[in-house]
Symmetry: C2
Subunit: 217 residues, 2 copies
C-alpha cells in the first residue's frame, strides 16, 4: 500500500477480483490505510462493467494461469485500454522450478499441482507463454522480462519466505486432491515434500522464475 | 580479446586447457592480437605446475561440468590463490531448459545429453550445485548470480545464436551416441530436435540459465 499511496496518489485505481470476499478484504485494508483513490469491483474478467478505452493501464497478476481462455481475457482487457494504453502481466511457471538436491519424488509432487491446475482448465506453465499470448491478443511492443528467484542458504529470508512458505506450501496444499484423483501415492508425495524441504538445508538451492510481460494496446 | 586487452592490460594472465590443440589455437589468436600479457599452459586441472598462493584470481568456465571430482578441482584451485584471492566459476544447467511449445520428445533428447555426460563422469546439471560446491571447497563469501537467457521472436539474434546454434546444436551433437547407447530411438530423438527448432518460431520461447559463482580464498 505504501507504494500505491506515494507513487500513484494522483491515479484513480479500480481493483477487480472475482471473489466478493477478497474484494471486501482489500477494501477494508484500503480504508484502514486512508487511501481515497482506489475503487473496488467484484467481477468476472470476461464480463466487466467498464467502458471501452477508459483505462491508461491494466495490471494482471497470477490470474491468467487459472483461466480456460487466457487469450480471450487479454483481448477483452485490451478493449478497456485507451489507444496507446499499456498492460502488465505477471505469472509464474512451475516448469521453471528446479533444485539441489534434485529429487524425482519432488518433481512428481510438483507435477501433481501442474496436472490438477490443467484439469481445472488452467495452466501452471503459463509464464513461458506470455509472449505469444500478448502478441496473439493484439498487443504491440510486447516485452517479456523474466524474474528468476534463486535461493541458497546465504539468503535465509528467501529460504523461509519463498522455498518453504510460498512454493513448497503451495505444493503441499494439493496433497489430498492429488491422492484422491489418483495422480500419485501418498508415500511418493510425502517424500517429494520432504525433498523440497531438503533443498532448504545449508547445501540446498532452489530456482523459480516469474514472468513479467508488458504490451501496448 | 578486446576486453582483455583494455580491462586487463596490466595483468599477467595464464590460460590453461587440457587440450594441446585448444591451447595452440588460443595462443595463435593472442599473437594475432599482439597481446603480450597472456601465457599458455597445457595441463590437467588436478595437476597444474603452479606455485601455491601465486594467483590473484582464478576464472573457470564450462569446466567443472566435465569433471568426476569438481569439488577436488575447486580445492586444488584454491591452493593457487593468494590469501583473499578470488574465484569466478561459470557453468550451465541443462535442467534449466524449458520452452514453448513444450515437448516430451525435446525433453527426452535433452535428457540423453544429461545422461551421456553423467556416464562420462560429468554433471550437466551442475549450475544449481555451485553454491554448495564452493562452500564445501572452503571458499568464503560465496555468491551465486544466475544469468537467465530468455528467448522469444522479438530477439532474433538470440533465437539464432543461442536457441538454434548453441543449445539445439549441442543436443543434436549427441544423436549418434544416444542412439548407440540405447537411450532413445531415432524417431523420438529427431522429433525432439524438430520440436526444439519449433521453439524458434514466431510464437516460440526458450529459457536457459547459466550460473556465475564467486568466492574468496
Amino acid at each position: 500500500m505504501r507504494s500505491v499511496s506515494t507513487q500513484y496518489r494522483n491515479s484513480s485505481i479500480v481493483s477487480v477480483d472475482i471473489s466478493e470476499d477478497s474484494v471486501a478484504q482489500a477494501a477494508q485494508k484500503v480504508r484502514a490505510a486512508a487511501l481515497t483513490n482506489i475503487w473496488f469491483q467484484q467481477g468476472d474478467i470476461f464480463h466487466l462493467p467498464f467502458t471501452a478505452q477508459s483505462f491508461d493501464h491494466v495490471f494482471v497478476c497470477f490470474v491468467l494461469e487459472h483461466l480456460k481462455q487466457p487469450l480471450v481475457a487479454l483481448q477483452k482487457l485490451k478493449t478497456y485500454l485507451k489507444p496507446g494504453g499499456t498492460i502488465t502481466v505477471i505469472e509464474g511457471d512451475h516448469g521453471s522450478a528446479y533444485f539441489h538436491p534434485d529429487s524425482e519424488s519432488a518433481q512428481a509432487a510438483i507435477h501433481c499441482q501442474v496436472e490438477l491446475q490443467a484439469r481445472a482448465g488452467g495452466n501452471a506453465l503459463i509464464g513461458r507463454c506470455l509472449y505469444p499470448l500478448l502478441v496473439t491478443a493484439g498487443y504491440r511492443e510486447v516485452w517479456v522480462s523474466p524474474r528468476m528467484v534463486y535461493v541458497d542458504s546465504s539468503k535465509p529470508e528467501l529460504v523461509d519466505g519463498f522455498t518453504k512458505k510460498t512454493f513448497t506450501a503451495m505444493i503441499e496444499g494439493v496433497r489430498q486432491s492429488a491422492i484422491e484423483e489418483g495422480l500419485i501415492d501418498p508415500v511418493t508425495f510425502d517424500n517429494g515434500i520432504k525433498d523440497l524441504y531438503r533443498t532448504t538445508g545449508p547445501d540446498g538451492t532452489f530456482c523459480y522464475t516469474f514472468f513479467k510481460a508488458m504490451g501496448k494496446a
